[in-house]
Structure formats: C-alpha cells, structure tokens
Symmetry: C2
Subunit: 258 residues, 2 copies
C-alpha cells in the first residue's frame, strides 16, 4: 500500500490569498490556477508537455484573475495544486475529482486510486482549499460584507478535435442573476460571449458555486475564457482590461435588481 | 474595544465527534447540544435559570442523539458552545446567529455586537464547527460512504405562552425525500408527528442542511422532539428506542426510492 503511506505525509496544501484587504464585494476564485504536481504524487506518469497542457490547469486563468483583482480591488483566492491530483471544483466522489482520463489523455497515476488514497488527496488538497475559501467567505459575511463569488477559468480552443467558437462563457448554477447581468454587459468586450457555454451546471462544473455561494444566498457566476486569448501576460492584461468594466457594470445592475 | 480583545483569544471550539467508527450511513448532527457559556463571553448577563432554559440549548437533544447513535451504530457530531454565543445552525449574518432576544428573554451580552466581535465569534465557534463537520462529510464521501445527514433538535412545549400539540417535527429543506420517509414510518411511535412543524425551512432553521447536505446531494432531514418528552436520561433512552426503528425504516425506504 505504498501510495497510502506516501499520501499520509502530504499537505495540507493551503489556498493562496492575494489582496486580502481588497474593498470590492467581488471575491475572485481560481480553482485551476496551478499545474504544480508536488510530492508525493509527482507527475502521475505524464510527459512535461502534458503537465503544461490545459488538462493539468487552466492556462492564463491566474494571470487574468490577478489582473481583475488589481483593476477591481478584489481579493483573489487560488488553489496551489494541479487539478489532476485533485480538482478543487469537484466533490470527492465525482469522476473528475481525480480523473482517470482528461480529454484524450490517460492519467496513469490516477488509473487505480484506492479509497485510502482518495481520502488522502481529499484531506491534503480539497478540504484545505474548501475550508480556506469558507473561512474567507464567512468572515466577510460576519463583517456585513456579503461577497459576490466569481470563479475564473479558461478552456481549450480545440476540444476532442473540434474548434470552439465561443470566446467568453458565463455559467450559472441555481441563481442566474449575476450571470445574466454579465452577459448583458458583455457586448462592450467584442468577444463571442455565451451563457452556459462551453458547458453548464449540468456537467457538474459548478461545485464551488453550489458549495460556497448558494447556501449563503450569495450572487455568483463562473467565467470561462478561451485560453488562446490569454496565452501570455500581455494578453492576460488586455483581457482584464476588457472584462473588469463588464464585472463592474454587472455588479451594479445586479445590485439594482436585488 | 474590550470585547474584541477578549474574543481574539477565544477558541477555536472544535466539534465533538462520538462513535467515529460507526458503520451506519446516518450521520447525527446536534448543533444545540450544549449550554456552555465559556470565557471570554461568560453568561452574557443571563441568570442561571435562563442559561439552563431552552433559549441556551436544546435540552435532551444530546442525550437522544447519543441514544440514536448507539442504537444505529451512527457517528454523532455536536457543538460544544451555547447557541446564545453563536448558533451553529445559522449563517453569520442571520439575526439568530447571535440573538439579541430569544423568545421572551433579552440577551444583554448580545445587545450591541460590533463587526469585530461578530467576526471573532464566527471564527471561534461557527467556522471550527462548520469546517469540522465538512471534514467528516467529505471524508466519508471520498471513501464511497455517502452519509445521510440527520440533525437532532428539541423544542419547548410552550412558546410565547401557547402550548404546542406537535411532539415530533420532521423538517426538510430542498429535498423532502428522507423527511417524507420518516413521516411515513412515524405512526409506529405513537407520537403526534408533523411535517415542517413547529417551524420550517422558511424560518431559516435549515442552514446546516443547506450548507452540508444539499451541495453534495446527500439525503437529509431535521428532527425536532418536544423537550418535555426527553426531560431526563430515562426519557431520552425511551425516545431513542421509539425513533431508532423509524430512522432505520426510513433509510431503507429512501434507498429503495433512490
């Protein structure tokens, strides 16, 4: 049972919080910020090309989220471990939490995960992340500053060989209010913006919103940017310039509607 | 700012877990188990009679929950601090979280709580509780043992001067499946059993279910026993004898319906 012994020693991998004193109601959340594959798991049998690819993280998402945090004066929280070890936007029993396969790639290190190893990864990666995010949200609520939860993701322009036309996806879970306000404000970006594309809550991609926003009745949305549009720091900054006013306008509209 | 300095030193008040190796899918949760009023808060200006009354806790709920845990071989988790300091079944911005008044009693120590004190109590009592419960639930899910969340409460037979006829209340939030199964099995108890009495989710009494069960799609219900029926250890044990078979039958029915 080598894997279990190794994993007992791992973590906890705490979330990283930036601009903790940010004054915006927006709380930016980036579950797939990192492609780090720390010990004891290591590269899970993947090549360096694979661990740099979108299967391991959301390329550009952290840079974009930092750009938005700066422009909005928002706090940002992000996860420090690759989603191939544990995808923090998935519950522990979802297949995508520790995926056996991602798009066209088998993940050898995830081929046969025991219950004990699943528990160890949950305790080392998922729970420190989820409870850290909960600490931040509950503290804001206690102080009378109900946060608006906006998760930042990127998606691959070509998936299973098919190009995707959508450039900016806005996804909601139970409460569509903020997502619709963002969509309404999005024409100013010039992007091909779509509601619930390239996937939706039905694909189990809204775990963070369900766990952290819905129970507290917090406004929330998940943003997805096509990763070829945020492929380097200059592009990330340019995208932050385009999206920050959209978020600000949507926040204003959502507040007026509430 | 004396209150803030005092509170910075308080806690964390961790939940108490009993029968951690219990094999039942039921996870018993008791948010109002204790009338302890620890330092730095102390008695909040209340008399000894008041701190023994139902406003400070749910009398009999812990004894009943322990009886059920034993009979079902279920794990039990309970909170170690009075709900007058922080009601762990409330979000930090709900008025009931740190109540100014409870039924006919003013709570002097809660009359003027600053944002910093509200944050301190949230961090000392609510977050250790909620994250501890989350740790337990997520660990079970990771191991392929999805828990069934059953919260155990008691209510006062006379409220604002009016007697209550209901003896056994079964309350649900978004998913009524388990609550309806428990109601269907309840005639064998001989109790006056009612769905969503003496209050319901509309009264904001289902925070624990919303935060911990619904996001994971776990079966859940909140049970309320009139506290004159569990007023001493013998009565608690007798009630556990009556309710354990009801829970077992409801679990079976809910599983068959799923």
């Amino acid at each position: 049972m080598r894997a279990e012994v190794r994993s007992d020693k791992a973590g906890p991998f705490l979330p990283v919080i930036e601009n903790a004193t940010g004054q915006s109601p927006v709380l930016l959340v980036c579950e797939h910020a990192s492609n780090a594959l720390p010990a004891p798991w290591g590269n899970l049998g993947l090549s360096p090309d694979q661990t740099r690819a979108h299967i391991a993280w959301d390329p550009g998402a952290l840079g974009l989220a930092r750009g938005l945090a700066q422009r909005l004066d928002a706090t940002l929280i992000h996860a420090p471990v690759s989603r191939l070890i544990y995808d923090c936007n998935r519950a522990p029993d979802m297949p995508g939490a520790m995926p056996i396969r991602s798009e066209v790639h088998d993940i050898p290190g995830n081929a046969a995960i025991s219950a004990a190893e699943r528990l160890a990864r949950t305790q080392a990666v998922y729970l420190p992340w989820a409870n850290g995010l909960h600490n931040l949200i509950a503290a804001r609520i206690a102080q009378g500053r109900r946060p608006v939860i906006v998760t930042i993701h990127s998606f691959t322009p070509i998936y299973h060989g098919r190009p995707r036309a959508v450039e900016f996806g806005i996804i909601h879970d139970a409460d569509p209010t903020l997502a619709r306000s963002i969509l309404a404000a999005s024409p100013q970006t010039g992007l091909n913006a779509q509601l619930n594309e390239p996937y939706s809550a039905a694909d189990d991609v809204t775990h963070t919103l369900r766990l952290h926003a819905t129970p507290y009745g917090l406004q929330n949305a998940m943003l997805e940017i096509r990763n070829d549009l945020i492929a380097d720091p200059q592009a990330e900054a340019a995208m932050a310039d385009r999206l920050a006013p959209v978020l600000a306008a949507a926040l204003h509209a959502a507040k007026a509607a509430a």
